[in-house]
């Protein structure tokens, strides 16, 4: 029986044996099978229906049954341990379900549509209910916008991080900058888009184009890259800086040629994560770039298509071909983001300090 029964002296531990009873290895599958059978029986006999309900019921019965069996055989401590383990696994499964569901859905719907034509043609001259056409114009748009956004964000973010770690210390300016960077990480993308809209289009009088979207996305990307670069720079051991300074190397050169190269793999990973984040932002693009069905290579004049705005445009239309195209574009977007992540990992591995 349980190892924490009272002994004649009343002290629970004086009866402590080194070995206790454990559930046999077949207990877990047996409990699982038993839960299924029991739940099937319950479902057959009662008005309860439905696959989802069935799974939930099986889960609950399994949890209860497993915990009870463990309590009876192994004792309270092991029973609680098993319960906690099962709850953790259950939460993991619950968290994974939406992710897997999204990926599977996008794959299933998107693969129907994606082919070479899809990737190399634009939507020019395709009517609202026609099939055909592709997302080439949107891919170009997304890639160009992501590239120019990175060009703006990376130098600013890396330099801010260098200031915060190497020069700022606890000074007032450093604390202010850290505070504002934290605030910026939380700015909703529509607010960033609105800000640039007011400045670029209303105040300065420019027309919609791809470039103001780059500015808005830079506002969203900079804090992400600042944070991760900061962490990577802090990881560089101080002894390295001191060795370089002791050689008579000025501080700025130490940072440029010793500290940053040492932190480089992590910095690159952070940059790629930042790019992956802004590649899918739709609100600033809607406000600032508009949408077009034709290819536009010029970032500075005229509306540009991008994958998120194409999805937005197509998904709202009543025709099935448009919806299919939206799924295809969604798949392309997810693949691009995954490729960026992969590239980041490869670069990090190649530049890693051995």
């Amino acid at each position: 029986m349980a190892t924490d029964t009272q002994s004649p002296t009343g002290h629970p531990d004086s009866d402590l044996r080194l070995s206790g009873q454990r559930l046999p290895r077949w207990a877990v599958p047996a409990t699982a099978a038993g839960s299924v059978v029991l739940t099937l029986a319950v479902f057959a006999l009662t008005p309860l229906q439905g696959r989802a309900d069935f799974l939930v019921a099986v889960g609950i019965v399994f949890l209860l049954g497993q915990t009870a069996a463990s309590f009876l055989v192994e004792g309270r401590r092991h029973a609680v341990d098993r319960l906690a383990t099962n709850v953790v696994y259950t939460c993991f499964v619950l968290a994974i379900i939406p992710l897997v569901a999204v990926i599977v859905t996008v794959l299933v719907h998107g693969l129907k549509v994606v082919n070479l034509t899809f990737l190399t043609h634009s939507q020019r001259n395709i009517g609202p209910t026609d099939t055909g056409g592709g997302v080439y114009h949107a891919i170009i748009g997304t890639l160009e916008i992501a590239f120019v956004t990175s060009l703006i964000s990376i130098p600013i973010a890396v330099l801010v991080a260098v200031y915060l770690v190497e020069y700022g210390g606890r000074g007032l300016l450093a604390r202010l900058v850290t505070f504002f960077v934290d605030v910026m990480t939380g700015i909703p993308s529509i607010v960033a888009g609105l800000f640039i809209y007011v400045v670029w289009i209303l105040t300065l009088g420019f027309q919609r184009s791809g470039f103001p979207a780059c500015l808005a996305l830079a506002i969203l990307m900079i804090p992400v890259v600042v944070r991760s670069t900061e962490e990577m720079l802090k990881l560089v051991p101080n002894e390295l800086r001191e060795s370089s300074l002791a050689l008579g190397v000025p501080k700025w050169r130490t940072i440029l040629r010793v500290v940053i190269p040492t932190a480089l793999p992590g910095i690159i990973t952070g940059i790629m994560l930042g790019v992956a984040r802004v590649a899918g932002e739709t609100a600033p693009l809607l406000l600032l770039t508009g949408y077009t069905q034709s290819i536009n290579f010029n970032l500075f004049s005229g509306p540009m298509a991008a994958l998120p705005t194409l999805i937005f445009d197509q998904a709202g239309r009543p025709s099935q071909s448009a919806v299919d195209r939206a799924w295809g574009a969604a798949l392309v977007l997810i693949v691009i983001v995954m490729l960026l992540n992969l590239v980041a990992r490869v670069i990090a591995r190649l530049t890693r300090v051995r």
Binding site: S243, L247, V249, P250, T254, P261, L264
Partner: protein, 258 residues
């Protein structure tokens, strides 16, 4: 090339806290001077203030005079970067630059200052590695990363790196404490060779090492926690270890405390 060091009434502060008080001593050119003393008594702090590395820490400052061949390195208008080019330092933990090869590590001091053409660098590398007694072991793998060497080899690489810039003085902060006895012996032998060209000051926890290696020894002590460290006595090594003047020195050397 080697220079003399004259320290007069050096006080070193970490913010408001006075860590070292009233230190005065001289170091002759081409000698090895060892600082010994219990932990926390300010030996490394004094060493670091000899090449203006102490002020790298935020809030740290010094008062007093440190003169290299008569020129006060804390004088007005003196650039700390130039001071550190004259006075090199080797740290306790060997730390070759991880992203650089052995070759690049040795010339890091020169390259990062922007001087010297490619052709001159090869000579400097060989000369410095020979000087650090590492040339034979690494001459065939100069483009491999510096971190691939053993601890003793890494420390000798750091020494090569420090002497490649041709300083006048070499400061060593417990250079052997992270090394095994064989590597320690190699570095101690190296110090005897380097003594002919550089003035060397080393901090060591190992009294026997100080006795083996140095010409003069300075004993630092601290009155209690929160008190500043002081230089109790500095004299020829043979005299310090046989008939020291101060009682505290004798107590430390004979192991009654520390």
């Amino acid at each position: 090339m080697a220079k003399r060091i004259d320290v007069a009434d050096l006080n070193v502060y970490y913010g408001k806290f006075r860590a070292v008080e009233g230190v005065t001593f001289s170091v002759e050119p081409r000698t090895i001077t060892a600082f010994i003393g219990p932990s926390g008594c300010g030996k490394s702090t004094v060493l670091r203030s000899l090449n203006r590395m102490h002020e790298v820490l935020p809030g740290a400052r010094t008062e007093g005079k440190v003169a290299i061949d008569g020129e006060d390195i804390y004088g007005p208008g003196v650039d700390p970067v130039n001071v550190r080019r004259t006075i090199g330092m080797v740290f306790q933990k060997p730390n070759p630059f991880p992203t650089m090869s052995i070759y690049d590590n040795v010339v890091a001091g020169l390259k990062l200052r922007g001087r010297m053409k490619r052709s001159g660098l090869d000579e400097v590398v060989e000369k410095s590695l020979r000087g650090a007694n590492l040339w034979e072991e690494v001459k065939d793998r100069l483009d491999r990363p510096g971190s691939g060497l053993s601890g003793g080899q890494q420390q000798r690489l750091c020494i090569a790196r420090a002497i490649a810039v041709e300083p006048q003085v070499l400061l060593m902060d417990e250079p052997c404490s992270a090394l095994d006895p064989i590597s320690t012996l190699a570095i101690e032998d190296l110090m005897q060779e380097l003594k002919e060209r550089y003035t060397i000051v080393i901090v060591t926890h190992n009294m026997q090492q100080a006795a083996r290696v140095s010409d003069r020894t300075g004993f630092f002590n601290i009155a209690g926690t929160g008190q500043p460290g002081k230089l109790i006595e500095m004299d020829d090594t043979t005299k310090m270890f046989s008939t020291p003047t101060e009682k505290a020195t004798e107590d430390y050397i004979t192991g009654r405390f520390g």
